[in-house]
Symmetry: D2
Subunit: 284 residues, 4 copies
């Protein structure tokens, strides 16, 4: 059996659900999931379909070709087509904070995330011990202002070599360059430790404490050229009060960061995230 | 223009989305909303469709007849078909607590709920002043053990006379009889002041306080023959702590009750609730 | 019996709880509530005390004088002393949105807030009908650029005449002048329809929609000279997703605004809010 | 320097805060934290104090003796006195689920929990690999109906040998006997995967799914003789909907379980939990 996940968006028009589901049926596909959404303001149609194909001679490439021929131009349609049975390969970028790293490796060891993690990259050597505990190759690539370009070239090379599908900045304390970002469009997820767009930039917990907010948050988003401005995938919050110090904010925030990052990764690897403009459609 | 909302559920099978959307297209309908869900364990298919028909000679009755002929038997399909432009008519049942009543009348006066409220029924005279403030007829029908059957007969008569679509028990402190319930299947919404199934029955805030919970809740549900056991529509919670007295629980709970009841009513009147077994599918 | 609420803050030092509770005991006071907090970073001590005095000849003025003599200079102490049995008098400022107004008047009619509301002031005539329903004087004071100073003078006069303790901007769509603000320091509460400091200024729901956030919020705060920058009293949030339009954000936000504003008012009138710098200590 | 944490409860009476803070001051203590609470219904006074003693010859034993002499009988006072600088020693009990185990070991490795974990006990051998990753001794003690008494005797022996302060049932899938519980009063914390008191007993996620709830929860509590009935320390919830399967409930619940258990452990080891009757006071 083969299984596909298909994400599409295009200008809305009558009969589109019918036409596409008809196409899949004709290819002997069994639709096991279908979710669609129409943005009424923008008049854009979004759909996510999972379909199974039992025919032994089903060819994903041929399916894609026919799909493109029939719809792409006519419907001004953008699509993403995935082999749903492929196990995504993740590279984790870290620096010195280890809580997201422990959390993701624990989840993966538990079988909660169905991914391969062939690679941890860090600009500091500190977390090699964590990687070792989970038997994952750890690549220490220091980054200074002077070496940044070379370091990123090295990172990119290793990412390519390891056929990485998704780069996770798990509290990686370095800004990645526009050049780097442009090579992995919507393939880099970051966790920012504030409720964006509040407290963009460095030390958001300190800024939140200073402002006297009663709720703090964390935000996972795709990384784009504009720092902390990429499409938001997930957010979560927790209450704080005057009894909490900045240190308490940081501690409470760790749990937010872990959960929000994990949820974003899960949505991404299950191909439930469709980026549109600077926003995301997250299918159920 | 006419607009319909169609809710269906039936055993899942291949091609069902295609077939039904095709049917609507053939009737010159424009699908403006489609949401479907498959319960994989039970293998049941659920769908909600909103469609607009511009043809001046569109007939809802004829549409329904053709739909039934084509699908009901063949697909073992259950359906609800609504004129989406009909303004629902609500009867509010109250006793002495006025917060949900004020809230619903305020929302309606604000234009937030698009309903008619031609009738408030109470087993106590206390809240007539509230009804007067909003110029809504108030019917005082006292209920004692001895008069209960007669009182309910009177209630039913008035409900029928007023062509009521939905009965809202807005902290109505009387148990309605099975006979009453059976006449308005999935047309009676209650607000229970606990996080069901915890604290069924009387004085749930006291029971929650006694148990020492750290979170309290409220639940709106359809009323069935089994007290507090009907299909849940909506729930919400709020944190409490040892500093809160029972009285604090009650005060905090009032806000939960208001919001949860209002959300449930809104989902119901927009035909977004599909009851299946003792559970609900709530479409987006 | 007389009952006082005392709020103090001063540089932290050893023995301060002991000294002040000792003082109250000597005056025959019975402490029924005491909550204290120390900001360890700033080394500031905060305390809230409720005490009852049964002596028939207890004099609040005399208590205050002795308290000041003993502590103010020596401890560099700032204090607020309230007659806890005084019923606060509120002026509600509104424009065209009626949901917070209905909510507050409903709460007050229910006995949930223990306040007097002798005055509703509006720069539009639209909500007079709401005021009438609850038998509350409604004062229509139009505000244009040209008449703003005169209008505010008129507002201030009425506020003084009515011995108002707290001004509530219940979605009042006018910026009040610095001069107005300076006359009622920490006596004006506003509800802002975003999760501050995100989306300061006009049309925050539209901005939130544009940014693609997954959670929206509301914030109540004291009004200061800097728009939307005053000390935050309360915040609350609700989840949103791609299925929600701006209009859905606005509708969901209404419930946040109502609850957050009501909680802030309740904390204020119970003298549980202590402003310190641009932050608040909210006692339990 | 020495630092103590003192928890007390006793019948409420005038002047008690003053008297006890006075006592500490006389012993040259510097109170760095004081939180008190009065249960007005039960008229019980609760207090938590942290105090530092710089005198080189301060003796905790002597302090305790004088404290008892002065207050215990006279105030009908119950107290707990801790050396706040002692690092608590935890034994983790697990079975086959590894998510709470990974989470707690990750937190400890991160320095988030300041505890020693000298011991993991399991009735299954499966999780030895996790213990090894974090270099923690793993003791496999199988439990059958026939061997239960002997197994518990063995567990108790090891717990005593390791001077364990707190036993954490981190999804340990065995009911511990009353005899076992009685030996470690308020020293055993369990995580139950429901919002207690809803869904007591086995398979709560399945029961929640069956009931059609819109929110699921997790609860940490002290273990008592009555299953799932002990004093609640912490609860948290997450929204679910009809799109979620039982498997989704379980996955979402894992994050709740991890966070709720970690919060409860943190509150306990910081001596912020005071059990009173079957409820807890959780100090800030």
């Amino acid at each position: 059996m083969q299984k596909i996940t298909l994400l599409i968006n295009c200008p809305d028009r009558k009969g589109i659900v019918t036409t596409i589901t008809q196409f899949i049926l004709e290819k002997q596909g069994n639709i096991v999931y279908l979710d669609q959404h129409v943005d009424r303001e923008e008049r854009v149609f979004f759909m996510r379909v999972e379909a199974e194909f039992d025919e032994p001679d089903f060819s994903l490439a041929q399916f894609e070709k026919q799909f493109v021929d029939q719809f792409e131009a006519d419907y001004q349609l953008k699509y993403q087509l995935y082999d749903a049975l492929h196990k995504p390969r993740l590279a984790l970028f870290v620096s010195k904070y280890d809580h997201c790293l422990y959390d993701l490796l624990g989840r993966n060891a538990s079988g909660e995330l169905e991914v391969e993690i062939p690679l941890i990259i860090s600009n500091h050597p500190d977390l090699e011990i964590v990687a070792k505990r989970f038997d994952i190759p750890f690549k220490f690539i220091p980054v200074t202002k002077a070496t940044k370009a070379a370091a990123e070239a090295e990172q990119i090379r290793i990412i390519r070599d390891n056929k990485i599908d998704l780069i996770v900045l798990a509290r990686y304390m370095q800004i990645v360059s526009n050049d780097f970002v442009s090579q992995f469009k919507h393939q880099i997820i970051n966790i920012h430790h504030s409720f964006l767009p509040a407290f963009i930039g460095a030390k958001p917990y300190h800024a939140a404490f200073e402002r006297g907010v009663k709720i703090i948050g964390a935000t996972s988003h795709y990384v784009t050229a504009d720092l902390d401005e990429g499409p938001i995938i997930e957010q979560e919050i927790v209450r704080v009060s005057h009894v909490h110090s900045v240190q308490d904010f940081i501690l409470k925030g760790r749990d937010l960061e872990k959960v929000v990052l994990a949820r974003a990764i899960k949505a991404h690897i299950e191909h439930k995230v469709l980026v549109y403009g600077n926003k995301t459609v997250i299918f159920a």
